[in-house]
Every structure is written in structure tokens, then in C-alpha cells.
């Protein structure tokens, strides 16, 4: 793989975010301490990002909020990657399953993902797990289609035929000969899925139906501070910037990986 500038930039930004989210909360103070005298204070040397409507330090909350966003992004990318890969390989290889599975996937894809996620979360009750599942389900069909298309083109290639004639069958054939060609586009897709997941998680938080407000996330910080926007814009802008940087990092990494893993892919977005 060619390591290009975009992979470096993406990884560097992501590294900083992961570091601050994992080690940061130990350094920046307690995000849950209420200081009623210090409500809605603008950024200062004491509170770099200012304080919110309960007098809580916004920097500490932004840093802690990063944990949820990054974790959700990672989990959704992994789960939808694994589910999409398994379903896609089976659908692409076994023609009989293909028609049924793909019709179902088409149906699922026709529902805009955020509506599906909103409906799922609100009806099952908000917890980290339901949020992750609700974001994963609408993403799966996209991965399935990608994997299936790679499998469909690969299964008729000469080297696969050669493997079949030399007696390779079933699972081994899929695992050893077909799967490897599906991996590079899958990794790229998973990166974009992570970016989308971070955005949807934040949107759910913003609408007040995501992760419960007891855990600070970038989305629910913005959602719950809406009323104070005119007097204290920093409560909203700092988590907002953090969110944009995180998504940017993931997307830039995705672009870099796309070019680096397979130069041929770069032309077909």
C-alpha cells in the first residue's frame, strides 16, 4: 500500500482525538461538577472553552464526549463491516439466496438511514447499544452491495476457476480466494461508514433521542444547550468543531486509503 499525505493527515488528527478522548478526562478536570456561580462563563484561562448553563467546564465535557462519538463510529464500522461482508459474500456466491437477500436489502436501503435510526432508537429506548445497532442496521445494505459486486466479478475470474478445478470448495474457496479481493474496498467503505455513524449519532443526540443526557456526547451537548445559543455560543460551537474535525479526520483517511489501497478505485469515487 502506498502511504499518502491524506492517510497521514487523517491518522494524525484521529490519533490526537483518540488520545484526548482516552487520556484527556484524567487531565482536564471533572465534567460533572456543578458550579452555580460560574454559569455560562465565556472562555477564560480557567475554563478554556467556557462553562455551560450548569457551570460545568465545556472543555472537560467535549473531551469526554469524544469517547462516545469515536466509540460509536468504531463499533458501527466494525459491525456493519462484518455483517455486510458475511451477507454480501453469501449473496454474491450462492445465486439462490441472492435474489431474496438483495430484495430485502433494496427495501432497507429505500428508507433514509436517519429516519430508520430515529425510529429504532426511540422505540427501543436510548442506550449506547441500541444507538449503535440503530445506526448499524441502515448501513449494512450499502456494505452488502459493495461486497456482493466484488464477489460477482471475482467468482468468474480464471484463478477462481483454477482453484475450483483443483478441488477447492465452499468455505475455503470463499475465505482464501474470493474474500481477499473484497477487503480493500471494504476497508475504505468501513471508514466512510464510521464517519457517517459519528454524524448520525450526533444528530440523534441533537434531537434528544440518542445516548441519555447523563453521558455527555457532542450531539446531546449541542441539543441541550440550544436555548443558550444566543448568550453563550461557545457551548455549541466547541462540541460542533470537535465533531466536524472528527468526521473530517475519518473522511480524509478514507480518501487516502482509497487511493493508497487501490489506485484504480480512486477514479470511481
Amino acid at each position: 500500500m502506498r502511504i499518502n499525505a491524506r492517510i497521514r493527515i487523517g491518522l494524525a488528527l484521529l490519533g490526537v482525538l483518540i488520545l484526548s478522548a482516552s487520556a484527556g478526562p484524567l487531565v482536564v478536570g471533572d465534567p460533572f461538577v456543578f458550579k452555580t456561580i460560574a454559569r455560562l462563563k465565556p472562555p477564560s484561562s480557567q475554563n478554556w472553552f467556557g462553562t455551560d448553563n450548569f457551570g460545568r467546564d465545556v472543555l472537560a465535557r467535549v473531551v469526554l464526549g469524544g469517547r462516545t462519538s469515536l466509540w460509536v463510529g468504531f463499533c458501527v464500522a466494525m459491525t456493519s463491516g462484518i455483517l455486510g461482508l458475511s451477507i454480501g459474500v453469501v449473496a454474491g456466491y450462492y445465486r439462490r439466496v441472492d435474489a431474496i437477500v438483495m430484495r430485502f436489502m433494496d427495501g432497507l436501503m429505500a428508507i433514509p438511514s436517519i429516519l430508520l435510526a430515529i425510529a429504532l432508537v426511540s422505540l427501543t429506548g436510548a442506550s449506547m447499544l441500541t444507538v449503535i445497532l440503530a445506526i448499524t442496521i441502515p448501513e449494512v445494505p450499502r456494505v452488502v452491495r459493495l461486497v456482493r459486486s466484488v464477489v460477482l466479478t471475482t467468482r468468474d475470474l480464471a484463478y477462481v476457476d483454477a482453484a475450483v478445478t483443483s478441488g477447492t470448495r465452499g468455505f475455503t474457496l470463499l475465505w482464501r480466494h474470493i474474500l481477499p479481493s473484497a477487503l480493500p474496498p471494504l476497508i475504505v467503505q468501513a471508514t466512510y461508514v464510521a464517519g457517517a455513524a459519528i454524524l448520525i449519532e450526533a444528530a440523534l443526540g441533537f434531537l434528544g433521542i440518542g445516548t441519555p443526557p447523563s453521558i455527555p456526547t457532542w450531539g446531546n451537548m449541542i441539543g441541550t444547550s440550544q436555548r443558550y445559543f444566543t448568550v453563550a455560543p461557545w457551548i455549541i460551537m466547541f462540541p460542533g468543531i470537535a465533531l466536524a474535525v472528527a468526521v473530517l479526520a475519518v473522511n480524509v483517511l478514507g480518501d487516502g486509503l482509497r487511493d493508497g489501497l487501490d489506485p484504480r478505485l480512486s477514479r470511481h469515487v
Partner: protein, 298 residues
């Protein structure tokens, strides 16, 4: 569409949470809850519930809201104008601007203008709708006071205020969409510009503009049309958030309100309508291939 209907229905009904209990309220007795369940037909088997619902939908009846007892179609009709206006005000200019940006970037591929445009596009693609929305409100509505902060003014109250209220939400909603289309337009143009017939056109002595617009863009149009259609999903998601942010009484707000009240018929109805719009738009895109590419036949 029947499949979409089935999925929407199953997801909502298989998820835990009892609407009958929610409507009855926390103080209701078990008998009262049971009474409501029977009245709404929620005690019947799932298959029967689905069959009845599908039959109703086919007749254009989306059911009755559990919360307000009004027909869902009526609730939707009350809310359809703001959403439709916002979507159209956003979609058409956004698509035109995006194609322009994509062509401009591809024409100067690898140079500073291209890099600059693509960095902007990446930023727009990565910024959540509600973050750009608040930034715009802060700048243009609060600091400069050019536009109202929130709200909606119906078309019947005059064209001036109607547009004034829609500009900020429109930009908020459109940014990501523009970025998405611009990226694909650029990539598709680059691919076409590398073809032999472009070199032929150039050697014939045709002008730059002529080559870009007549020869290249025409051949790059199919992926662009595809992404304009697929991007509508992004617009629909954006509408839900933008309407909440700008306090616009449209269908997006309706579904968010309905979810808070577990109003199944409304959630089902609106989700189904949004999905139908999405499917329909993409069907139109598929048909547009006929005009864009004479090789396509159905």
C-alpha cells in the same frame, strides 16, 4: 414499496414499548390499557395488523394518529408545504452550483483552484447540519441581522418573507448535498477528460469551454444524475434536523414529535412517505438515463 412497508411495519411493531400503555398514561389500570389495545386493534396477530394496514395504505389511508385522533394524511397535508418548499429551494440551486464546482475543479485538476475547492468540499461534507446551521445563524441572523433567526412564513403571506425565512435553512441543508455532488461530478469529469475522443476534440481545435460543456459534461452526466438521486436520502435526513433547528413546522418536525409520543401510525406514515419520495426520485433518475445516454435502453 410493499417491501419497504413491511420493513417499516415490522421494525416498529417488534420493538419493545407498548403504545397502549403510553396513551393510557401512567395512572391507568391494566383494564384501561387492555381496552385501548383492543380499540386500536393492537391485540390482533401481527400478520392481520399488517394486512389491514397495507390494505388501508393502498387506498390512500395512512390511519389515524393515536395521539391527536386526526387522520395521518391530514396531519401530513398540514405540514407538507414547509418541507416541500425547503426541499425545492435547496435541491435545484444546490445541484446546479455543485455541478459548476465539479466542472471547474476538474478543468483545473491538480492546480491550486482544484485543491482549494476540494478542501472546501471535504469540510462541507464533514460538518454536521446542525453545526453549520448554528454558525450561519450566529453570523447572518444574530451578528448581521440579515435574516430571521428561526421560523417559517408560508407562501400565502407573501413571497418576500417566504424567501427570507428559507435562505438560511436552505444553505444549511444544501451544503453537504453540494459537496457530495461536486465530488462525484469532478471524478466523473476527470474520467471522461482522459478519454481519446476528448483528445480528438482538442486536436480539432475546439475551444476549452466547448469541450468541457458539450463533450465532457454530457458524457459524465450519468454518475452525476445517480448521485443527485442518492443524495436525496441525505436531504431527507437533513430536513429532519434542519426543521428542528430552525423551528420550521414541516414533516420532519412531525415525525420527531410523533416519536416522542410513540404515535405509531404517524411514524409509519411519514417514514413511508419519505421512502416513497426517495424511491420515486431515484426511479426518475433511472429514466433520465434514457435522455442522458442513448446507449441505455429499458
Amino acid at each position: 414499496m410493499v417491501l419497504v412497508a413491511l420493513i417499516v411495519f415490522l421494525l416498529l411493531h417488534l420493538s419493545p414499548g407498548d403504545p397502549a400503555a403510553v396513551i393510557a398514561g401512567e395512572t391507568a389500570s391494566a383494564e384501561e390499557v387492555e381496552g385501548i389495545r383492543v380499540r386500536l386493534g393492537l391485540d390482533r396477530p401481527l400478520v392481520e395488523q399488517f394486512g389491514r394496514w397495507l390494505l388501508q395504505v393502498a387506498q390512500g389511508n395512512l390511519g389515524v394518529s393515536i395521539f391527536s385522533n386526526l387522520p395521518v394524511t391530514q396531519l401530513v397535508l398540514q405540514r407538507v408545504e414547509p418541507t416541500l418548499s425547503l426541499a425545492l429551494v435547496t435541491l435545484v440551486p444546490a445541484a446546479l452550483i455543485a455541478v459548476g464546482i465539479g466542472v471547474a475543479a476538474a478543468a483545473r485538476a491538480g492546480r491550486a483552484v482544484d485543491h482549494g475547492l476540494m478542501i472546501l468540499v471535504m469540510l462541507a461534507l464533514s460538518s454536521p447540519v446542525f453545526v453549520t446551521g448554528y454558525a450561519l445563524v450566529l453570523l447572518f441572523a444574530i451578528q448581521l441581522q440579515w435574516f430571521p433567526v428561526q421560523g417559517y412564513s408560508p407562501l400565502s403571506a407573501g413571497l418576500g418573507p417566504f424567501i427570507k425565512y428559507l435562505i438560511l435553512p436552505g444553505i444549511t441543508l444544501g451544503l453537504g448535498y453540494v459537496a457530495l455532488i461536486a465530488r462525484v461530478t469532478r471524478a466523473s469529469m476527470l474520467e471522461v477528460l482522459a478519454q481519446d475522443y476528448i483528445r480528438t476534440a482538442r486536436s480539432k481545435g475546439l475551444g476549452r469551454q466547448e469541450i468541457l460543456l458539450l463533450h465532457a459534461l454530457k458524457n459524465a452526466a450519468v454518475p452525476v444524475a445517480t448521485i443527485i438521486g442518492i443524495g436525496v436520502a441525505m436531504l431527507i435526513s437533513g430536513v429532519v434536523v434542519t426543521e428542528s433547528l430552525f423551528n420550521i413546522p414541516g414533516m420532519g418536525r412531525l415525525v420527531v414529535e410523533a416519536i416522542a409520543r410513540r404515535d405509531y401510525p404517524v411514524i409509519q406514515g411519514v417514514t413511508l412517505i419519505f421512502s416513497a419520495v426517495y424511491v420515486l426520485v431515484n426511479l426518475m433518475v433511472d429514466l433520465s438515463y434514457l435522455a442522458l445516454d442513448p446507449r441505455v435502453r429499458y
